[in-house]
């Protein structure tokens, strides 16, 4: 595989890695260079890259991927409680359990295509969400959320909480208070946490790149283009779809795991349909089917969320202070609908604008810009100018 990566592929990978690893400096000017947000960029980047393997390549729109994110989160916290605060077993466990879960849901949902598939996945995710709040409370700790606690003096209480950390205890790792997640002693919050996520994002990006350049990826693209035809070509498409679904579910599980690693508390709200919708938005906003697009979309949405939801009327008054008083009041009143709590309104508008004017997402915007620059002021040539309809030949 590596031998057949073209030079531009390598270049893309190197540039991508460089950009991701230098984010703490390059995002300084826009006020986004703090670990919490940087971690979110990387984590949701992974989520979106994985989602794109399913949606971007095969065209199957899942509305339930947050379920795998949630499953990954819970699995990681359980690994912290039962096994060790080391993050590696948590990662492995999350990916594996999310994978099994995705196989189950994918196997059933992929009996249908199009809108029916989307609705099936949505239904499964909502079911998981509700189960997490009700029957599964012993596993999820319901509304409070699942979190790591200190090991108590009384073994009985610890067992009831589930905080036993067999591996850490066996290795004799001392614990003072509530322990923190670590990679062989290195704490996984703050900047180290970001770099851990960033490296995983790069690995995930690389794998996604391999998939999209592979025979398997080509089959997925053919499914998106004309699944029916592929059947007549001798390909049984369902196993390919299930594989793509499971892989993207595992990506989501990994992202969920990282959410718990950087902040070891898992709640059911991560499984809610809004979370599933968010990853759809990220992918489409950035550019479905492209490699970089989903990561970009994830970054944009997380950044906008952080900023817009923190704005309030005071900040708006500051921004519009150049206007005369009555006008200013009106404008601030109007825009206050879109900030703070109303940030989802902004998100919805952003999404509508993209879908209507730039269905290919931000990446499509870049392509258009590049074409515009390449052609200078002249209008772009008709793309199919080289073919003449057969009837017009001779």
């Amino acid at each position: 595989m590596l031998g057949t990566f073209s030079r531009s592929d390598w270049l893309l990978l190197v540039i991508f890695s460089a950009v991701v690893l230098t984010l703490p400096w390059t995002l300084e000017p826009i006020g986004a260079a703090y670990p919490d947000l940087l971690q979110k960029f990387a984590i949701y980047g992974i989520f979106a890259v994985g989602f794109n393997i399913l949606f971007g390549l095969t065209g199957y729109l899942s509305f339930g991927h947050a379920a795998f994110l949630g499953v990954g989160s819970y699995a990681a916290v359980w690994s912290f409680k039962l096994l060790t605060m080391n993050v590696l077993p948590a990662l492995a466990l999350s990916i594996a359990i999310a994978g099994v879960f995705a196989l189950l849901i994918g196997y059933i949902s992929l009996r249908r295509a199009g809108i029916y598939f989307s609705i099936l996945t949505l239904a499964f995710a909502q079911m998981s969400y509700n189960l997490a709040y009700s029957v599964l409370t012993p596993i999820t700790n319901g509304e409070t959320g699942l979190q790591v606690r200190a090991i108590r003096k009384s073994a009985e209480v610890s067992l009831r909480d589930g905080d036993v950390r067999i591996i850490d205890q066996a290795l004799g790792i001392p614990e003072v208070g509530v322990p923190i997640t670590n990679l062989f002693g290195m704490k996984m919050s703050g900047y180290p946490g970001f770099y851990f996520c960033a490296v995983l994002l790069i690995v995930c990006f690389f794998i996604a790149m391999c998939i999209s350049r592979s025979n398997f990826g080509m089959m997925l693209k053919a499914i998106k283009s004309n699944q029916n035809r592929l059947n007549y070509t001798g390909i049984h498409t369902r196993p390919y779809l299930i594989a793509a679904f499971v892989i993207s579910g595992m990506y989501a599980g990994l992202a969920g795991s990282l959410l718990s690693i950087t902040d070891p508390i898992a709640g059911a709200e991560r499984m809610q349909w809004t979370a599933s919708g968010e990853v759809v938005l990220m992918t489409i906003l950035g550019g479905a089917g492209t490699l970089v697009g989903p990561v970009l979309g994830a970054g944009l949405i997380k950044y906008a969320e952080q900023k817009v939801s923190s704005w309030n009327e005071g900040i708006l008054h500051g921004a519009f202070s150049f206007l005369p008083e009555p006008v200013q009041d009106f404008v601030v009143e109007f825009f206050s609908f879109f900030v703070g709590e109303g940030w989802h309104l902004t998100l919805g508008l952003m999404f509508m604008i993209i879908v209507i004017f730039l269905p290919g997402g931000v990446m499509e915007g870049f392509r258009r810009l590049r074409r515009a620059f390449a052609n200078g002021a002249s209008p772009p040539p008709r793309p199919v100018a080289t073919t003449t309809p057969i009837a017009e030949r001779d």
């Binding site: 595989m1 031998g3 057949t4 990566f5 073209s6 794998i207 391999c210 998939i211 350049r213 592979s214 025979n215 398997f216 990826g217 080509m218 089959m219 693209k221 053919a222 998106k224 283009s225 004309n226 029916n228 035809r229 592929l230 059947n231 007549y232 070509t233 001798g234 390909i235 049984h236 498409t237 196993p239 390919y240 594989a243 892989i247 793309p383 199919v384 080289t386 073919t387 003449t388 309809p389 057969i390 009837a391 030949r393 001779d394």
Partner: protein, 273 residues
């Protein structure tokens, strides 16, 4: 008794010796299919012999495409069976039928519109080579040099060499048809089913397609070809079946069909032979 029925009786009389042809590869046995009361196919029997080019002709709406649909698993017949090389095709799914060695060239081109011409041809080649599901996320598509070389050759054969990197959606209708043909040819099927491969082509391109199909014939590929263009039919066919109103009304060599007055009446009368 109608004309069609008289002819049908003749055909039925012939069936006695036809059904024990030792080298037949495709055997269509008493197939019926109706769509909401419309009998698209009734009592259709057809044998295709190893290596022959068997043409199916008939007026619009005669049921020709429906017959092929039954063969490739797109449509389940109401009654009857299709047997290919000892395997019953009825009840099998399209990919299984293809894996047995039956490829289809569609009447309305069904290509992968978002993929390039080269990719369109490489995909069926990969599926022929790999057969069942293969999870190979680390096998680079661009590393399939052998398959690419072969695809390039086939693309050149059908005359799309200078469009090889174009997206299929930007091809003209005639070029899409050639692409269809290339996608069928690259699979080296035992049986190739062609549904009006030259419709809409200019005479010059039609002749090129005829030459190409002759060349394949020399390699021993069995073909069933549906055509309206009598020039194509009489240039290629070893035997001809005439379908009208969902029934086979005549079957025989091109000479026999040409001289069959009832066929002329039922079908050829409309055309300039």
């Amino acid at each position: 008794m109608s004309v069609a029925e008289t002819i049908r009786d003749d055909v039925a009389g012939e069936r006695g010796f036809q059904s024990d042809i030792p080298d037949r590869v495709l055997h269509i046995d008493d197939v019926h299919k109706s769509f909401a009361g419309l009998h698209a196919l009734s009592n259709v029997d057809l044998d295709v012999r190893q290596g022959e080019t068997h043409a199916i002709i008939g007026p619009n709406g005669a049921g020709k495409s429906t017959l092929l649909n039954v063969c490739v698993g797109r449509i389940e017949p109401d009654r009857g069976a299709v047997v290919f090389d000892g395997d019953a095709l009825t009840g099998k799914s399209p990919h299984e039928i293809n894996q047995l060695g039956v490829a289809r060239v569609f009447q309305t081109p069904e290509v992968f519109l978002d993929l390039s011409v080269l990719e369109n041809v490489m995909v069926p080649a990969l599926s022929r080579r790999d057969g069942h599901f293969k999870l190979n996320p680390f096998t680079a598509f661009s590393g399939e040099t052998e398959i690419r070389d072969e695809a390039e050759a086939v693309i050149a054969d059908v005359g799309l060499k200078n469009r090889i990197h174009m997206t299929a959606s930007s091809l003209s209708r005639g070029d899409k048809r050639r692409l269809e043909l290339a996608m069928g040819l690259i699979q080296h099927p035992k049986l190739l089913l062609l549904d009006e491969p030259t419709a809409g082509m200019a005479r010059h391109d039609t002749n090129a397609t005829i030459d190409l199909l002759r060349k394949i014939k020399e390699r021993g590929m069995t073909k069933v070809i549906i055509e309206h263009d009598m020039h194509v039919v009489f240039s290629l066919a070893d035997r001809i079946s005439v379908l009208a109103g969902g029934r086979i009304i005549a079957q025989g060599s091109p000479e026999e069909i040409k001289n069959n007055p009832k066929v002329k009446e039922a079908y050829l009368g409309e055309e300039q032979v």
